[in-house]
Symmetry: C2
Subunit: 324 residues, 2 copies
């Protein structure tokens, strides 16, 4: 069993070895740029952790793990076009640095490249890996579509939001874990349990993200807080606020979320004050904890000795306690 | 053995059965719109033909065949954004009818959907199908990138052009045939020969397209001629013209291909006149015939009784003789 840090190093090393100096350079340079160190590499590391949990050989999982990471970065490349995001991990986004056409086509190439990596393992494992992957790939697209539709939708419920983040954010880590389990030859029941573990962790992770955006400490968060508020993003906090707010608080929320022409700091401060009045931090943390605890139930259900689960348990715990 | 028309009907029927009434509708409606009858369905039919050539069961090939068709249409969806094309098969393109974001994301979803179909066959066949497919998918992206780069490139040779159309146009029909062969359990040697057959047919097909755009009869061609000339597209004819033209012809070509602000009819008529002077039709037909005959050599090399090859031979012949 390896620690998280060791597995992360393994992933970074394997990524660094991939040759992206291919022709045409105009297609592959943006891919190489996108994949240079900077990401958390959570999904590939999760795949390796799941593989080890079930006693598998991580050498068989390393290429599929890179495939998942490349696929994930492909979705970011295209999301950044759709969201008109200028920056990603502190660097210019591909569509901004090059152009939209480049971001579309380099992204498409990454999807194909991801496939190349996903099938670079034992032949017998390929069908089951691909079955999990292709379903997941489609769900991630569905999640992004819902996310975009919700921007202009009149009525979005908290259930809608949770459905959306499950698709957009949670199924890919879940599938990463499941593929790791498949590679290790885990029982279908256990592969399903680790999938559920990942799904619940993914949901909790996103709720933590929503919380950090509003209540994070900018110094440790590493980025500017309040981005979701500025952009009127319908997060868990936003939706819960409208569920609970009355009187002047409600009017103020309607005022601030009715436009984008506000002084950002004032809007952030005022909205945050209302969120604090409504004790939204408690509500969101409670919701997050629900998924976190459910994930531990999923982990408990796996027929593997407890000691082997320690690494994944710690990993989940760190995600919940993170301040950035 | 089935005839082309029977296989085409089979493909259309199977496509019509796929349920695209999925959620979110905003994602799946453009996919359904893109896949409604209108395309030639050449690639899926080629897959079924190759499967039958090697005595395979086309029921095992029908889903992968749909996968290839969906993948092909995904590339068109994204190409249309990049090329700013308003129409495709006489209908508004997706990015035009909806918007760019929709075309990006519905396209991505089609890539994933294509995967779903490609792996809906005998489990044992999946690895080899996927190996062929993922390489091909990447090559198609590379071809599109070269195509875009050539638009503004100073120096494009005929060899560059042939390399580009091989990637952008020829490898997908080639892979379709090869996957059909794989599904039928063909020998690797024969699967390689049918791939080469498809590649050469694909190259000849594109050269025929270039010819029809200039020398086609508009009544039978079904679309307006001269589109490549209007848009200064560096086709085989364009490149050969600059290779051969001297004196006033050369000056006229430089004049007309130096901009896009010309009266379209005048430009088309003048450039066509020069092409005729230079006997470019003969040159292009000779080049096309070279690939066509090479494809027949590839077909001859396949260790299958001649009678079984008749359908593919006729198919290739029809592609060469087509007027639309």
């Amino acid at each position: 069993m390896h620690h998280f840090g060791e597995l992360l190093e393994k992933v970074e090393k394997a990524l660094a070895v991939i040759n992206f100096k291919l022709s045409p350079a105009g297609l592959y340079e943006p891919i190489s740029y996108t994949l240079t160190p900077g990401g958390k590499r959570m999904r590939p590391v999760m795949m390796l952790m799941a593989c080890e949990l079930f006693g598998g050989d991580i050498e068989k999982a390393i290429n599929p793990a890179l495939g998942i990471e490349i696929f994930h970065n492909f979705t970011l490349l295209h999301d950044d076009i759709m969201d008109k995001a200028p920056l990603r991990r502190g660097k210019e986004t591909v569509y901004q640095k090059w152009d939209t056409n480049t971001a579309i086509l380099s992204g498409d190439t990454m999807f194909a490249f991801a496939l190349d990596c996903l099938i670079e393992t034992d032949t017998l494992l390929i069908p089951e890996i691909l079955r999990t992957f292709s379903t997941t790939a489609r769900q991630v697209c569905e999640g992004q579509q819902y996310d975009m539709e919700f921007e202009t939708a009149e009525k979005v419920t908290i259930a809608d939001y949770l459905m959306m983040i499950r698709l957009k954010t949670a199924v890919l880590p879940a599938a990463s874990l499941k593929i790791g389990a498949i590679i290790a030859g885990a029982e279908p029941r256990d592969a399903e349990s680790i999938y559920r573990f990942g799904e619940n962790i993914g949901l909790a992770f996103q709720l933590k993200d929503d919380l950090l955006d509003v209540f994070g400490d900018e110094a440790t968060f590493g980025k500017h807080c309040g981005g979701d508020i500025t952009s009127n993003k319908k997060t868990f906090l936003y939706l819960k606020a409208f569920e609970l707010a009355t009187g002047n608080d409600r009017l103020a929320l309607q005022h601030y979320f009715g436009g984008t022409d506000f002084d950002e700091e004032t809007k952030y401060r005022e909205v945050k004050r209302i969120y604090e009045n409504l004790k939204l931090k408690d509500f969101a943390e409670k919701e997050m904890d629900k998924y976190y605890h459910q994930s531990l139930v999923n982990l408990d259900a796996i027929a593997v000795e407890e000691a082997k689960k320690a690494e994944l348990k710690q990993f989940a715990q760190r995600l919940m306690k993170r301040e950035s």
